[in-house]
């Protein structure tokens, strides 16, 4: 199976590569449009700031490529947020895969949220063999509210989308590659979709 990690200068890509390595899968780092289109699975990582990440995607033309992919795609953290309609961070438009607008956490909670939080209301094969109230590691200041594409929620201030899904597109707000054995199960599930 060909697995490509989209390389656009964002994110802790080494950890993701190592996580897949532990699962016996080789994740190839690439910004080559053809390589991305021809791969069996695509990981869309992202750590950093939303508007500058979107600028990088536009510069490379990836903003047009990603929403048209037909194989299973997994956006992680900022990657998931960029797949939404828009983000309050840097007031930027997103890729518009998920019909929801990313907002900043209110000051009634500590921002950023850093640490292990539970996921509930788990739907789709992505969460196969993962029990309700499992812990995942997350670190973020912005969140996607609950919407019709939500397939898992987490409580922080209010309920937000811990994961989203539409057709072949999946997104998780937490970092499965940093979420111990539960995170590994999720990555394995993604490979098996």
């Amino acid at each position: 199976m060909k697995l490509v990690l989209i390389n656009y200068g964002a994110g802790n890509i080494k950890s993701l590569q190592f996580a897949f390595q532990r699962l016996g899968a080789e994740a190839i780092l690439s910004d080559d449009i053809e390589a991305i289109q021809n791969s069996d699975r695509v990981i869309f990582p992202g750590v950093g700031e939303a508007s500058s990440a979107m600028a990088m995607l536009r510069q490379t033309g990836l903003d047009k490529v990603i929403p048209n992919l037909t194989q299973p795609v997994l956006g992680i953290c900022l990657g998931m947020q960029l797949m939404c309609n828009s983000s309050e961070e840097g007031k930027t438009k997103g890729l518009g895969v998920f019909d929801v607008d990313v907002a900043k956490f209110p000051s009634t909670v500590k921002v950023p949220q850093i640490g292990w939080n539970t996921i509930t209301g788990l739907r789709t094969e992505l969460f196969q063999n993962i029990t309700e109230e499992s812990y995942m590691y997350a670190v973020h200041s912005y969140f996607a509210p609950v919407c019709k594409e939500t397939i898992a929620t987490t409580q922080y201030g209010s309920n937000y989308s811990a994961a989203l899904q539409k057709n072949n597109f999946y997104g998780v707000q937490f970092h499965p590659e940093k979420s111990s054995t539960t995170g590994e199960v999720l990555l394995k599930n993604f490979l098996n979709l």
Binding site: N12, K14, S15, V47, K110, G115, K178
Partner: protein
């Protein structure tokens, strides 16, 4: 519900783990990669690596170590010690570190915080603050507590938050190495002063000290070294006891 984090800290010198008592008398406590693996399997929520021998040559050793750690574990980890530039942080994050922790370089050049945050994002940048209570005031210190600065702890905390730091790792120099508990009053005041997560550090000696750091100190995470390295406290037992005290913890 977001849980409180338990963070073993591995002080690194020449690629090995050490822990100073009051920052002197270093003792060897093992291979960092092996230790990291054991901690991650035993329920540590996160790890901090602090390089206390940060010369140019040693930095390359550290970068290699970070890569080995990232390969071996599946929980987040932060790396600190001697970081003073965007390039320093880029190397660590590219090798698999999740967060970088800066200390003296931020005090010397506060703009560095803004620059790092702009480049890597708020969530990657931890500011470590060493402070000592002198009479009634908490004064920020540099070089492991040797050099006082003009900054008051709470003013500096506010400053680093405004500049975009994602969290604060606060070490009380009065408590560090004493095993008499964390600086809970100062911790609680810090939590009221800023709205970013606070990691408590310095003074862990027994399980009750962690309970106090979370309940009285309102800390979001608690960090310790020697009590974990020398197995005076087992992380799994500690977490069970915290749960028994109605503290939100990942088991």
């Amino acid at each position: 519900m977001l849980t409180k984090r338990i963070i073993p800290c591995l002080d690194i010198k020449d690629g090995r783990t050490v822990k100073g008592v009051n920052f002197v008398n270093l003792r060897d406590a093992g291979d960092p990669v092996e230790l990291a693996k054991v901690y991650s399997e035993n329920g540590a929520d996160e790890l901090v690596f602090l390089d206390i021998s940060a010369t140019e040559e040693k930095r390359k050793t550290l970068a290699q170590l970070v890569l080995k750690v990232a390969k071996a574990i599946n929980i987040p980890f932060t790396v600190g010690g001697g970081i003073s530039s965007i390039q320093d942080v880029a190397v660590l994050l590219n090798n698999g570190a999740d967060k970088a922790s800066i200390n003296s370089s931020a005090v010397k050049n506060p703009q560095l915080i803004n620059d790092l945050v702009a480049k890597f994002g708020t969530q990657c940048i931890t500011v470590a603050i060493d402070a000592k209570q002198v009479e009634d005031e908490w004064i920020v210190h540099l070089l492991g507590g040797k050099v006082p600065t003009a900054w008051n702890l709470f003013d500096w905390a506010r400053e680093v938050e405004q500049r975009g730091a994602g969290e604060i790792l606060f070490t009380s120099m009065n408590n560090d190495g004493t095993k008499n508990g964390f600086a809970n009053k100062a911790l609680a005041k810090l939590s009221e002063t800023v709205n970013i997560p606070i990691i408590a550090s310095g003074g862990a000696g027994n399980v009750q000290h962690f309970v106090d750091a979370f309940k009285m100190g309102k800390a979001d995470a608690a960090l310790a070294a020697s009590v974990f390295h020398f197995k005076e406290i087992e992380i799994s037992a500690l977490k069970k006891e915290l749960l028994n005290n109605n503290i939100s913890i990942r088991i």
